[in-house]
């Protein structure tokens, strides 16, 4: 398994453990369209990676991977919160769960060097109920062997 996949699994666990009531369990992106009846829903996906060798002859590759935590929430406001306000509460909790995380492996060794928050995209739709989609991006930095994405260094 690649170090990237291990980190994705660890992020999913970090977004699952101790989450407040109402925050949906994250699912790794599957390509299946959601139905409004399934909301709220949260997906996790990696979207972009840049790789840099520390020198032309180095055996190390430093990798910066963007992960998107995407929440889709429907809300009429009947409970006192609009769809966007519900989304914002989920987003606030994700920041605390992920920023600065290094994602320990089973032996307690960090998989990543750091996790930083990049930004958020808000989108809206309105059918029978208003829907808000919040795409929250984080950059995770880690290193592997330059010629082996499964070998952590």
């Amino acid at each position: 398994m690649t170090v990237l996949q291990l980190i994705a699994n660890a992020m999913s666990a970090a977004l699952t453990t101790g989450r407040p009531a109402g925050v949906p369990e994250p699912k790794l992106w599957s390509g299946v369209a959601l139905d409004v009846e399934q909301l709220p829903a949260r997906t996790l996906a990696w979207t972009e990676e840049t790789t840099e060798r520390t020198s032309p002859t180095s055996a190390l590759a430093r990798r910066d991977v963007t992960f998107a935590v995407q929440d889709v929430v429907a809300g009429t406001g009947a409970g006192g919160s609009s769809a966007q306000e519900l989304c914002e509460a989920f987003r606030a909790w994700s920041i605390g769960a992920l920023v600065g995380s290094r994602y320990l492996d089973g032996a307690g060794v960090p998989l990543a060097i750091d996790t930083v928050e990049l930004g958020t995209l808000w989108e809206f739709e309105q059918g029978e109920v208003p829907v808000c989609r919040c795409t929250h991006s984080f950059k995770v930095t880690f290193s592997t062997r330059a010629n082996d994405a499964e070998q952590r260094v």
């Binding site: 369209a33 139905d35 409004v36 889709v72 739709e125 029978e128 109920v129 989609r133």
Partner: protein, 98 residues
């Protein structure tokens, strides 16, 4: 014999549901259908429902965006409304918001 505008109230009364807004009532044809939303490139990311009710234009004088409207016993707000069919009919998009 062709149907004319004068036939509309009878047709809507027969086929439609009760629509109430601002103390006025009329009948309209309600459609609830699945719509693709939040599209990314070619793939719909969300399938949601939309509600549209079609009434005779002018039959609800207080019709405006954001107004409270009851369609077949369900309370909605008017998302938007548009005249169509040369102004004879008005299509109202409804949304469930508190």
């Amino acid at each position: 014999m062709a149907l004319g505008d004068d036939d509309l109230p009878g047709i809507l009364e027969e086929l439609g549901v009760e629509v109430t807004l601002g103390g006025a009532s009329t009948h309209g044809v309600k459609r609830r259908f699945t719509e693709e939303m939040l599209r990314d490139s070619d793939a719909p990311e969300l399938l949601s429902r939309s509600v549209v009710v079609t009434i005779k234009s002018g039959s609800l004088p207080a019709l405006s965006s954001g107004a409270a409207i009851t369609v077949d016993g369900i309370a909605y707000k008017v998302k938007r409304h548009m005249e169509e069919e040369h102004g004879t009919l008005t299509r109202i998009n409804c949304v469930l918001v508190a």
